[in-house]
């Protein structure tokens, strides 16, 4: 596709894509790559606690990035943490996508009062900053993976709804939709088989941006102690665990997971940014 070729032309964009794939790879294959499973208590030894990067471990491998207060290898922690962070972010994005798309498509298709109502709710939702909404929800619901995902979904769905509705409203006026409805195909079928595929380009951009946003938000919430529980240590929690040790110079516990987090988010944002530039018809002038 011309799109793919155009994308490949920009070196920054390629770099971002590469980075993103590396991160993905690390996250998926974490259990096989990590030298240690940091959550298997049998593998840990308190003798290894707070060792600086480069120290040799009891088990024979090197703590490339040091260890934390419980003797866990930071590198392994990062790998597993990436896994959790990415999973939560992607799952919430997909759920939000489904909900948002359904509502957006319905709003665009039905028009009139349904549309007005749905869009009102969307506007209301979007006028509050995401962190506040997440805070409120988690204050009410408590900690937990499912609750965090619910909070993330609530924060995101409105963006999808609005994007899909805008695209769908444009597409709806086009002739092929008229033709489809003349053939008396069911409304649902028209929406999913015909409208939706043509709304994909802006949606791709929104999905990518929202995933990056979700990762960042989840990390923030976990850091503050109201997101994921300790049994699912995402990068945010790792960073939080090192917070207290910062002032004593044991920087590696917080900094390295932070860098990993940064790289993941940055890569996704780079890709999203270039996708957006490419798909923007006006900039292509």
């Amino acid at each position: 596709m011309r799109l793919v070729r155009a994308y490949m032309r920009n070196r920054m964009a390629l770099f971002g894509l590469l980075l993103m794939l590396v991160v993905l790879f690390l996250a998926v294959f974490a259990p096989w790559i990590a030298p240690q499973n940091p959550y298997d208590l049998k593998q840990l030894s308190l003798m290894d606690a707070r060792r600086p990067p480069g120290t040799e471990s009891m088990a024979g491998f090197t703590f490339v990035l040091g260890t934390d207060a419980l003797g866990r290898d930071i590198w392994s922690g990062i790998l597993y943490g990436l896994r959790i962070s990415l999973t939560v972010a992607v799952v919430s994005a997909l759920v939000a996508l489904t909900i948002g798309s359904t509502l957006g498509l319905t709003a665009a298709w039905r028009g009139g009062r349904t549309d007005a109502l749905i869009m009102r709710i969307v506007d209301l939702q979007m006028s509050f900053p995401s962190i506040l909404v997440a805070l409120i929800l988690l204050a009410v619901l408590g900690r937990g993976v499912d609750k965090t995902i619910i909070a993330l979904v609530t924060v995101q769905w409105a963006y999808y709804a609005r994007t899909i509705r805008a695209s769908a409203m444009i597409e709806r006026e086009k002739e092929y939709i008229e033709a489809a409805s003349c053939m008396r195909l069911g409304a649902w079928r028209i929406m999913t088989r015909h409208l939706l595929p043509n709304c994909l380009p802006p949606l791709m951009v929104v999905v990518t941006v929202q995933i990056a946003h979700a990762i960042s938000l989840e990390a923030t919430l976990s850091f503050l102690g109201i997101g994921l529980p300790e049994t699912e240590p995402s990068l945010g929690l790792l960073i939080a665990s090192g917070y207290a040790h910062l002032l004593t110079g044991t920087y590696w516990i917080s900094i390295f997971p932070g860098i990993a987090l940064l790289i993941a988010i940055f890569a996704i944002n780079l890709v999203a940014d270039h996708l957006r530039d490419l798909l923007n018809p006006r900039l292509a002038r």
Binding site: M12, L124, S127, F128, P129, I131, L132, L135, I136, L138, A139, V140, L141, G142, A212, S216, A219, T220, F223, L224, G225, I226, G236, I239, Y243, L246, L247, G249, Y251, S254, I255, G258, L261, L262, I265, F266, N269, L270, D273, R285
Partner: protein, 325 residues
């Protein structure tokens, strides 16, 4: 014009009412604050006494109506933990958060607009490309992590600036502001910079996009065709048109900055509303949570209203068509 204001105020009141109901129901229906405040060994009688003292033995709807009645009188409940009225607690902490948010917004605007303008006017220069990639980095960095980094670099390694707390304050209009003292400034620099980063990145991008768009507009061409000096083209023609969306976004985002202060305040131990809400959530201090959320929602709606008004003032096209956007 007055019709517009009245309409918006009513809308705002409605939003606040709905939000308070949602929040109240959610917060009060789940969990048990009594557990927190008493000795786990205490017997049922003591629990009952505490519960009735806190008004928790009433049916939920009763609690809510009591709440609303009190709220309209300015009483939003008493903090379980501090035992002073929740609203008082929040108002005590508000100036700290406000000054932090204001300073952060100022930094973001003062730095962001010129950088964005430059990047927009010369889109192909390497400096511009760096600025733009830097802006992506800027909003990719999670605020809390930047805060940690800033503490590490400036407080631990370099020792130039203090890592925690708010500096000495000076009193103006009976309110304590720390930006007015040197010590206060030293303490506010890091948290404000931290909070500003995300906004800065956004403003750079917004300004750049706007400048780029404006530069290709016919009115810019026409101005150049009449021989208008480039500086005037930039400041009067481009910037004037640009400032409208920027100011409105900055205004609306101010609410976001106040919300995001939650993170910065937690890291830098800044005694503002944000830190209060996090502590309250962890301690299940419900009245404070509810009061905070009500105050914040109210605040937001107010900001939106002000921004709408500002917009009508700035854009003559809107102003003269009756103020309805």
């Amino acid at each position: 014009m007055t019709e517009f204001i009245v309409r918006r105020l009513l809308q705002a009141a409605l939003v606040v009412a709905v939000m308070s109901l949602l929040v109240f129901t959610g917060v009060y229906a789940i969990g048990d604050p009594v557990e927190l405040l008493i000795n786990p060994e205490a017997d049922q009688a003591t629990r009952d006494m505490v519960a009735s003292q806190l008004g928790l033995d009433q049916p939920l709807w009763r609690q809510y109506t009591l709440f609303v009645a009190n709220a309209l009188q300015g009483d939003l409940g008493r903090s379980f933990v501090f035992n002073i009225p929740a609203i008082e607690l929040i108002l005590q902490r508000m100036p700290a958060t406000l000054e932090l948010a204001a300073l952060a917004t100022l930094i973001a605007l003062v730095l962001g607009v010129p950088l964005g303008l430059f990047a927009g006017m010369r889109p192909y220069s390497p400096v511009s490309r760096t600025i733009m990639t830097g802006s992506i980095l800027g909003f990719s960095l999670p605020t809390f992590w930047v805060g940690l980094l800033l503490i590490l670099v400036f407080a631990v390694w370099l020792g130039w600036l203090p890592a925690f707390g708010r500096g000495k304050t000076a009193s103006v209009f009976g309110v304590e502001w720390s930006v007015l003292t040197l010590d206060g400034l030293r303490h506010i620099v890091l948290p404000a910079a931290n909070l500003a980063l995300f906004k800065l990145a956004l403003i750079i991008r917004l300004t750049q996009a706007g400048a780029r768009e404006a530069a290709s507009q016919d009115y810019v061409r026409f101005a150049r065709a009449r021989g208008i000096a480039p500086s005037r083209v930039l400041f009067v023609h481009i910037l004037r048109n640009l400032m409208i969306p920027i100011v409105t976004v900055a205004g609306i985002e101010f609410g976001g900055v106040v919300a995001f202060a939650v993170v910065t305040e937690s890291i830098f131990n800044w005694p503002g509303m944000g830190k209060l809400i996090i502590d309250s959530i962890n301690l299940l201090d419900r009245p404070v949570i509810v009061a905070y959320l009500v105050v914040i929602v109210f605040f937001f709606v107010l900001i939106n209203l002000l921004v709408d008004l500002l917009y009508t003032l700035l854009d003559p096209r809107v102003r003269l068509s009756g103020g309805s956007r």
